[in-house]
Symmetry: C2
Subunit: 250 residues, 2 copies
């Protein structure tokens, strides 16, 4: 996930040549039922989980039984997935290309209106401020890729503690990786919290809503649409969770 | 560009209700020659420049004369552009959906190989470390939306000083807005520097290359592909420009 480059480092008026760590970026094509669905640019790790999570957060699959088999080809940078009784119809592919504001993947095959219609959180979950602070602290300690390269986003699924954790150049990819891992490991979503290092815009909220995660905690800012969607869908949304501070937006 | 929300603010163990500023996020559809090209999610400001810049950084137009006319419909959130003797053929639309790692827009209609073939920087530009430090300082002082909401990216086009500046929830959108403004104002690209608040991944480099900007300075990290492309195309790439420190990657 990291490459070493020989670069020139400037400090005040001195310049020296050093070896430096840089986060790896590489394309990954997701093929579903023999059809190329999308190519994302991501950090090469947990590719199959990213692909499965993508299908989950797009509302195409809801449980691991929906997937007959999957495989990764490292050479062609392709994840091939065969679904169980689910077809990717032209309706999904021809939907208006809603290009989102996220890092790591900016495409969603469903629309804003779709999501608002289809999902509302009914399960009750309680999060004390102390728990939010503690989870965020644990979360940041795990972000080793960011610490080494300064160029990564992370996401986690948590309950009392952090259960699943992933990093990627894209904040969406990081979310998809943990959703994929949860699907594969049969971890339920309805009683969990999604943690994110990045800003919360509409499509991150919609990803969580689509798969049924009731709460999102981020150390960054939300956007206006994200707040509106969270309130509409009865989701918990906390932002700017830093130290002993936080904002509750919904 | 900012909306006010009533939120709950936690500080240590106290919770109080306050009014808070949140960055606005809204969809914008770009229609070219009567055909819907793409819908991006962006901050509602300079929409026509964003759309024109998008066409520029996608290599569809190269100068303002390529555009016969353009108009913004604030109600339907649509920018309608008619091109001068340029057709958007199916080749462009059917190209593999390369979904990028960027914020604000994650789709490019050209591929990595396309870009590598089509552009190499030959114009010479000199940037002293002092100039990079000074430009970055000016740049950050202008980022008022970020200062107020914590959720914005900014981009600028600079020579001795900053000439054009834009902010958006998406770092790509911010880049497209200044490319659009430069096209409209007939500002040349070959002797300019692109400044960005965000990470530099492949598609930001390709945007700059496609329109002919020879140098990029960012306060954040680059990715591995971005460095490789910059070196391949003979572009200048500086990252982590903070205070009197900087890294030269290419």
């Amino acid at each position: 996930m990291i490459q070493t480059f020989r670069i020139k480092r400037i400090r005040e008026s001195s310049i020296e040549e050093i070896e430096d760590w840089v986060i790896e970026e590489t394309p990954l094509t997701i093929v579903v039922n023999g059809q190329e669905l999308v190519t994302v640019v991501c950090t090469p790790e947990k590719e199959e989980l990213l692909a499965i999570g993508f299908l989950g957060s797009e509302g195409i699959v809801g449980k691991i039984e929906d997937i007959r088999d999957y495989s990764v080809d490292g050479k062609t940078r392709t994840v091939t997935i065969t679904l169980n009784g689910i077809t990717i119809d032209d309706k999904i592919l021809s939907r208006r290309r809603l290009v989102t504001s996220g890092c790591g993947r900016g495409i969603s095959f469903y629309t804003y209106e779709d999501a608002l219609k289809s999902t509302e959180i009914t399960q009750r979950i309680e999060i004390s401020p102390e728990r939010a602070f503690t989870l965020m602290k644990q979360f940041q300690r795990q972000s080793s890729l960011f610490l080494r390269t300064g160029g990564a986003h992370s996401a986690a699924l948590a309950k009392e503690d952090i259960l699943l954790f992933a990093e990627d150049i894209g904040r969406h990819n990081a979310v998809d990786k943990i959703i994929g891992e949860a699907l594969v490991k049969r971890v339920s979503f309805g009683d969990k919290i999604l943690l994110s290092s990045g800003r919360i815009s509409s499509e991150v909220i919609l990803k969580a809503a689509k798969i049924g995660i009731p709460a999102i905690i981020s150390r960054s800012a939300p956007t206006s649409i994200a707040i509106n969607i969270a309130r509409e869908l009865n989701m918990t949304l906390m932002g700017f969770v830093r130290g002993k501070k936080a904002n509750i937006y919904s």
